[in-house]
Symmetry: C2
Subunit: 76 residues, 2 copies
């Protein structure tokens, strides 16, 4: 499962996960999971260091979005 | 778990999930899960109908990102 995901420890901060999508276009997603549970989602739609969009997520929001993406989201 | 997620069937296409983040800023994430498994992720960082970033994900890519966000990503 780890294929295509680059993981980097950020000492004192948390963990950064880089997921390559279409590397020919530079499309990628980075997620920083902080020690306090917060997530920052960085979306890159082209090459370069500047993300196209950045959003901060609480742990609960990240879980919801994660469940939808993973196909495990169900309503009560 | 369904709280904060608005689900809309798109007949013949798939299902759309809207997750509100900070509604005061208009920040939100929409995910369209197509019948063929593809996902489109729309990130809105401000009010308005134009997404800040749109990425297309295969089912496998979406599962990886989903697992990282949900906190269930583990390497082999």
């Amino acid at each position: 499962m780890g294929k295509g995901v680059h993981i980097q420890e950020l000492p004192g901060l948390g963990t950064r996960y880089d997921v390559d999508l279409r590397s020919s276009d530079g499309e990628r997603v980075s997620i920083v999971v902080s020690r306090d549970g917060k997530r920052h989602l960085y979306v890159f739609t082209s090459r370069g260091d500047e993300p196209t969009a950045v959003i901060e997520l609480t742990e609960e929001q990240a879980r919801k979005i994660g469940a939808v993406l993973a196909g495990t989201f169900f309503t009560d």
